[in-house]
Structures are given as structure tokens and as C-alpha cells.
């Protein structure tokens, strides 16, 4: 059962990483224009700084 000492923190950490990433996408306005973002990938312009 000693393995739990590693496994539980690891699983929490991984889950927490996912949550943190989701919050980052939310904060950087990535859900404001889902339709536009899906199509922009088709345009040839290189957009290194999406607004």
C-alpha cells in the first residue's frame, strides 16, 4: 500500500495540471470565437500573436 504515497499525489498533480491549463485557456479568451478559430487555421497567414 506504500505505493499510494506516490500515486495519489501524482494523480492529483496530473488532474490539477489539466485544470490549470483549462483555466489558462479560459483566461486568454480562447472560447470567444470558436467558429472563427476553427477556420483561421485554414488561412495561410502566419499569425504569431493572435489577439
Amino acid at each position: 500500500m506504500n505505493i499510494l504515497v506516490y500515486l495519489i499525489p501524482i494523480s492529483l498533480l496530473l488532474g490539477g495540471f489539466g485544470l490549470g491549463f483549462f483555466i489558462f485557456t479560459l483566461r486568454s479568451n480562447q472560447y470567444d470565437d470558436p467558429e472563427g478559430d476553427a477556420r483561421r487555421i485554414l488561412s495561410d497567414d502566419f499569425d504569431s500573436k493572435p489577439k
Binding site: 492529483l12 490539477g16 470565437d33
Partner: protein, 728 residues
């Protein structure tokens, strides 16, 4: 000491080195933020083309298109106006409209939606982790391992609940502080009691902890809240966009004689305002100079234009037809007759607020029931065993199992599905209970002008007029911007008649057009001007010299889908009525065309509202469909109301549903969808109740384990959501 005061507060050396820029200067250089609505964009190529063209302009600092909202946000130099950019985009081949930014405050709703989504994400994360730990407990973890898992669960649950549960706690507190019960009170109690007893159990290394239940509950309820919020936010932003499309501007005549285009908001009483033909009166006022005709159809429903001369009073919202007018403002802003109509609306609306939504009805029945049940279980077990711990545990289990998890999803899941479906058909559901009210409707009242008809006159007696008269009328009418003249031109050109060669064609504002043919004076215009007896329908007259005037009769075109809508509504067994502010003959005509037997003409705005009130008192559930200012009170008084997107802002605000296209036929389909949605909501309530009926006896008997609670909660929530998706 003094040196310390001069040290720059900035930590960046470059900022410290650069001279301080006075803030006033940055203000004057502030770029203009312009927003355009681009309804026709649809693909990556459209985005790339418009953005590239806009960004290539030297005066545009940045341009970004949002395809979901079909808008362009542009920051440009202060000298750039929205009209320039609108024209620029239109030259690229895309329809563009300026949006009034002050009417758009979607950012605020966005922030609320984002906060809810964040809480939903945290609740999802926490509940999944705790659920994993709980699964190992249920599958047989014992002693120290079980205690460890419970403690870890507690460590995740406590902060997560404190963060995610806030919307419920706040609502519950607001209700309790007003000594009322709402759905959030049992929710809050269940969550807090579950967490409390579980902590106690864990401290005593007990077997049952409900941490997972408390979190799943929060997660499902937040999902319901988020769906609800999103549906409303979409409707609100679409409604705001309709308002923002009407940028209120007026031409003010300054005392020094210079015309200036200003926003309607800055106009004052006694300002002189120029209104061009085709323009709408921005304020109430008196005409000081100019002769014209005005179209009052949006205010009164009359289709016949009325003459306008100096000294006459005009109201905001009327449309100037033939000649330029200068008006002196007598009332501006909220004082105008347009806004005063809002008082009437507020009065009529008090009746509607008495409607109790299905969800509120369920909550009213449910909340006390849950509390009583759980208190009884607690009291019963305490009296039987005198064991506080067992009694509290059972009370918590009852609260968790009866907690309105599925109920919280039952309504939002269905309304989200139904509103999405109707939105794709061109109907915007503005009010949250509009669907439920629409489902109960058994009587439909239509307005005529602008609702059943397009508000555009059409020549009806083309065959009854001789070729030479048509040719003369065309020659006179083709230069005029008056709606009747334009309609006449179009109709006569349509049958291939060429205009007569006339001399000295002049437009006499407020009267008509005159010209000369072979020394004979020709006139085309109002009945009084040419000395004819006015017909009892919209008409103009052609007079050659002193001959008898020839009438040209007009009637209003039916809106596309009007016939289908009326027929479908009647087939669905509803009473269809027509109430209009127009005169009897055109109203009777339209009623006959559509097969409406019950109609009323020359109704004032109050008449309309009273009529609807009478029907309501007689037990009918009335759906009002109208567009004019004269309909606003009736729209608000009716059980449910629909207005077309072409309606005045005041009418759109007063109605529950906005019809986005020009076609009326979705109305009947909307009633069907609304009924189906209400049926689904009731069905969902029944499903949720069924799960409760099975699980509650187990809980009261003390047989409910956290596993049973989790199963009952998840299956009922998922069944309810799936049932909502079946909606067609």
C-alpha cells in the same frame, strides 16, 4: 528626504529614462474603437480578405473579426469614422452595418459566464478525483486506508465546495434574509450537511462519507446553471445587437447656420433639427419650416401618409416622406412620446410577472417537502436510537438523495435545446419563461401594418387605368422618393410602359408632383391637391388640366409566410384575430385575404391593450404579434408576444420573442416546439420524482449508502439530460 521624492516609481530603466508623457496627450491620441456587424461572412477566406484589407489601411491600427458573432472590432485613428469603414468593407463585397457600442454590454454577461464555467471546471476536477477515491472505498478499502482516502477527499472537497458552491450559498442567503424559500436553500443545506456529517464520520473513522455526493451534486447543478446562463446570454447579445444596429444620429442646425451631425443623446429642447426625406424624427417637436408628408404607421398603424406643415407637432419615430423639414425640439430623450409609451408598457407588464414558471412551481412544492422529510427522518431516528450520529447521517442521506439535482437540470437542458432549435429557424427567445407561456397560447392577435403586411404599398388598379394616364403618371412619379411614387414607378415600368416627355417637373412637398405636357398642366398627388374626393384607401390622383382626376389605388403587400402562419395557427385550433390602428377598408381587405373573420380597425394603443385584457379575463391565453409603437402596450399585456426584427426598439423590448427574418411562417412551428418543450420539462420532472420515490424510502430506512446516493444522482441527471436532447 527630498531626493527620495524625485525617485521614479517605475522599476523599468527605459520608463525611468523616457520623459513622462502627460496623460491628456494620450487621451487625445486615443484611437477610435469601431465595431461593424458583418452578417454575410462565413469562411476563412472572408476573414482573411477583410482583415488583410482593413489592416492595410494606414489609419487602422488593428482589425480582428469574430466569426461566431459575425462582427469586426477595429481600432483606428481618431479621424476615421465608422461610415468610412462600413463603405470600405461594402466595397470589398460584404454587407456591413455599424454597431452602436454603447448598446452592447455583453462583456459583463461574459464575465459572469466565465466565472460560472470556472466553478464548473473546478467542481468537475474535484468530483472526479474524489469519486476515484470513493470507488476504492466502495470496493473494499478498510481501516487506515479508508481513513486516509476520506481525509484526502476532505482536503479536496472543502476548498472546492467553498469556491464552487458560492452561487448557491449567495442565492440561499438572499432568499433566507427575505424569509423566503427557494431551490437554493435545500441545495445549500444538503451540501453543508453532507460535508459536515462526512467530516464528523471521518474524524471518528466511520464507514460512510458523502464527499463525492456533495461534489457531484455541485457539479450537476452548476452544469444546469451554466446552460441556463448561456441560453440567456445568447438571447441577450442577439437582442442587443438588434438595438446596436440603429445608431441614433441627427442633423442639428446650429445657431450660426451650420449643420452638424450629432448623436441623438446630446440634443436639447429648442434645438433645430433637419430631417431629410426618408429620415425618422429623432425627437418630439414642432415643424418650423418645410412642407412634407409624414408616415405614422409605426406609431399608429395608419398606412395613409398625413400632410405636414409649419406649426404642426410631430412625434419621435414618425418618418418624413417627401420634403426636408426643420423641426424645433419640444421633448428629447426619455421625455419623448416614444419613451412615454414605456410607462404604459410597465403598467401592462405587471400582469405578466404574476406568471409562475414550471421550475418555480416545482420549487415551491419541493423545498418545504424536502426539509420536512429530512427533519422527520432525523427526529424519528433520534427518538428511536438516541444516537445523534446515526440520526444526523440519515438526515444528510435523505437531503442528498432528494436534492433537486435532476430538477436543476430538467428545465435548463430543455430550454437550451428548444431555444437553439428555434434560433436556427429565425426566432430569438428573449424571456426565460417565454416558451412555457407560448405553449399555453390558444388565441393569436395580429397587428396589420408592418406585421402581417410589409408596410410597403402596392398598386392595385393597374388594369383599370389607360395607357396614356399610366405613361403620364410614370413621368411624374419617377423622380420622387415618396414610397407611393416609387411603388407606382415600379409597377408601371413592370408592364413596359415608357414615360411621357414632360417639361418643368417639380415636386411640391406635402402635395405631390407637377409638370407640363403640350401646354397642359399635369398633377399627381394627394386627393385635396388635385380637387378629388379622397378614396377610403391609400391612393394618389392624376389630373390633366381641368379634367376629372384619375385615381391610383394602393394596398399593402402581405408579408411572406403570413398566409401559411395564419392557416397553420387556425389548423392548430387557435382563434386568430386582427386588430389594427388603420382604417376599416384596408383592414377588412387583409382580413379577407387571410381568412380572418374577427377583425377590428381604428384601434388606439389603449384599445388594443384593453381588448387583450378582455380576452384574458374571459379565460383566453393571448399571443400578440405586433411591431408598432401602438402595439407595445398590447405586447406587454398579452400572455406571450412576438415582434419582427423590423419593429421599433420599444416594441422589441416589450416582446418575449423576436422574429429575425422577414418570414412569418415560423410562428406556428414555434408554438409546436414550445408545446413539445413544455411536455419534455414535465416529463423530466416526472423522471426526477420517480428516482426520488425509489431512493427516498431507502434513505429514510437508513439503507442508503454513499454508493446508492451517487448512483441515483448520476443516473437521474443523465436520463434527464438525454430526454431533453430528444426534443424535435
Amino acid at each position: 528626504m527630498t531626493t527620495a521624492l524625485h525617485v521614479s516609481t517605475s522599476a523599468c530603466p527605459a520608463c525611468a529614462a523616457a520623459p513622462n508623457v502627460p496623460p491628456a496627450e494620450t487621451d487625445t491620441n486615443a484611437s477610435a474603437q469601431i465595431m461593424l456587424s458583418l452578417p454575410t461572412i462565413h469562411c476563412a477566406a472572408c476573414i482573411a480578405k477583410i482583415e488583410r484589407a482593413l489592416n492595410a489601411r494606414p489609419d487602422v491600427t488593428s482589425a480582428r473579426i469574430n466569426l461566431t458573432r459575425k462582427r469586426a472590432h477595429i481600432s483606428a485613428g481618431p479621424e476615421t469614422t465608422a461610415q468610412d469603414l462600413q463603405q470600405f468593407v461594402q466595397e470589398l463585397g460584404y454587407e456591413a452595418h455599424e454597431l452602436d457600442q454603447s448598446a452592447l454590454n455583453a462583456t459583463q454577461t461574459d464575465r459572469a459566464g466565465r466565472a460560472l464555467l470556472m466553478r464548473l471546471a473546478v467542481a468537475g476536477f474535484a468530483s472526479m478525483n474524489v469519486m476515484l477515491l470513493s470507488v476504492s472505498v466502495w470496493s473494499g478499502a478498510e481501516d487506515a486506508t479508508r481513513d486516509l482516502f476520506h481525509w484526502i477527499s476532505a482536503a479536496i472537497t472543502l476548498p472546492a465546495i467553498a469556491f464552487c458552491g458560492q452561487p448557491f450559498f449567495r442565492n440561499a442567503w438572499a432568499a433566507l434574509s427575505q424569509k423566503r424559500l427557494n431551490m437554493d436553500v435545500p441545495i445549500t443545506l444538503a451540501i453543508l450537511l453532507a460535508v459536515g456529517t462526512s467530516l464528523w464520520e471521518t474524524a471518528l473513522s466511520g464507514e460512510h462519507a458523502y464527499f463525492d455526493a456533495a461534489l457531484t451534486l455541485t457539479f450537476f447543478l452548476l452544469a444546469g446553471r451554466y446552460l441556463d446562463h448561456r441560453t440567456r446570454a445568447i438571447a441577450r447579445s442577439a437582442a442587443e445587437e438588434l438595438t446596436a444596429l440603429e445608431v441614433p444620429r441627427a442633423k442639428r442646425l446650429n445657431p450660426d447656420g451650420i449643420e452638424e451631425e450629432v448623436s441623438v443623446a446630446v440634443l436639447c429642447v429648442d434645438d433645430l433639427i433637419l430631417v431629410q426625406p426618408g429620415g425618422r424624427m429623432p425627437v418630439d417637436g414642432n415643424i418650423t419650416t418645410g412642407l412634407s408628408e409624414i408616415d405614422r404607421s409605426l406609431l399608429t398603424g395608419e398606412t395613409c401618409p398625413v400632410p405636414a406643415a409649419p406649426g404642426q407637432a410631430v412625434s419621435a419615430g414618425e418618418v418624413n416622406l417627401s420634403g426636408p423639414l426643420t423641426i424645433q425640439a419640444t421633448a428629447v430623450g426619455t421625455e419623448t412620446s416614444l419613451h412615454r409609451m414605456a410607462d404604459l408598457v410597465a403598467l401592462a407588464e405587471s400582469g405578466r410577472s404574476r406568471y409562475t414558471s414550471l421550475a418555480d412551481g416545482a420549487a415551491r412544492l419541493y423545498a418545504p417537502g424536502v426539509h420536512i422529510l429530512s427533519a422527520l427522518a432525523f427526529a424519528g431516528w433520534y427518538l428511536w436510537t438516541f444516537d445523534m450520529r446515526t440520526a444526523l447521517n440519515i438526515a444528510a442521506a435523505v437531503l442528498i438523495i432528494t436534492c433537486p439535482c435532476a430538477l436543476g437540470l430538467a428545465v435548463p437542458a430543455v430550454t437550451t435545446a428548444a431555444s437553439g432549435r428555434l434560433f436556427r429557424r429565425g426566432m430569438l427567445i428573449k424571456h426565460e419563461t417565454a416558451l412555457e407561456r407560448l405553449a399555453q397560447v390558444d388565441t393569436v392577435v395580429f397587428d396589420k401594418t408592418g406585421t402581417l403586411t410589409e408596410g410597403m404599398p402596392e398598386l392595385t388598379n393597374l388594369d383599370g387605368v389607360g395607357r396614356s394616364d399610366l405613361s403620364a403618371a410614370l413621368a411624374l412619379a419617377q423622380g420622387s422618393a415618396h414610397p407611393l411614387a416609387r411603388s407606382l414607378t415600379q409597377a408601371v415600368r413592370g408592364v413596359g410602359i415608357s414615360p411621357l416627355e414632360l417639361k418643368a417637373v417639380t415636386e411640391v412637398p406635402g402635395c405631390g408632383v407637377q409638370g407640363e405636357f403640350e401646354g397642359q398642366e399635369l398633377r399627381l398627388g394627394r386627393a385635396e391637391w388635385v380637387g378629388a374626393n379622397g378614396a377610403n384607401q391609400t391612393s394618389v390622383f392624376l389630373q390633366r388640366g381641368k379634367e376629372k382626376p384619375v385615381p391610383f389605388l394602393f394596398s399593402d403587400n402581405l408579408r411572406p409566410g403570413a398566409k401559411e402562419a395564419v392557416a397553420a395557427l387556425r389548423d392548430a385550433g387557435m382563434d386568430v384575430h386582427l386588430i389594427s390602428g388603420d382604417t376599416a377598408v384596408p383592414v377588412a381587405n387583409i382580413a379577407e385575404q387571410l381568412g380572418i373573420t374577427s377583425w377590428q380597425a381604428e384601434a388606439s394603443p389603449t384599445d388594443k391593450a384593453i381588448h387583450i385584457q378582455e380576452m384574458t379575463d374571459a379565460g383566453a391565453r393571448v399571443l400578440m404579434v405586433g411591431d408598432g409603437l401602438n402595439d407595445t402596450a398590447a405586447l406587454a399585456a398579452a400572455h406571450a408576444s412576438i415582434s419582427p426584427a423590423s419593429a421599433l426598439d420599444a416594441a422589441r423590448v416589450a416582446s418575449d420573442i423576436v422574429l429575425l427574418g422577414g418570414d412569418l411562417s415560423p410562428i406556428a412551428a414555434a408554438c409546436v416546439t414550445a408545446r413539445a418543450a413544455t411536455k419534455r420539462i414535465r416529463e423530466n420532472f416526472r423522471i426526477a420524482t420517480l428516482y426520488n420515490i425509489i431512493a427516498v424510502p431507502l434513505a429514510v430506512a437508513g439503507l442508503a449508502t454513499p454508493l446508492i446516493a451517487a448512483l441515483a444522482m448520476s443516473t437521474s441527471s443523465i436520463t434527464v439530460s438525454l430526454n431533453a436532447l430528444r426534443l424535435r
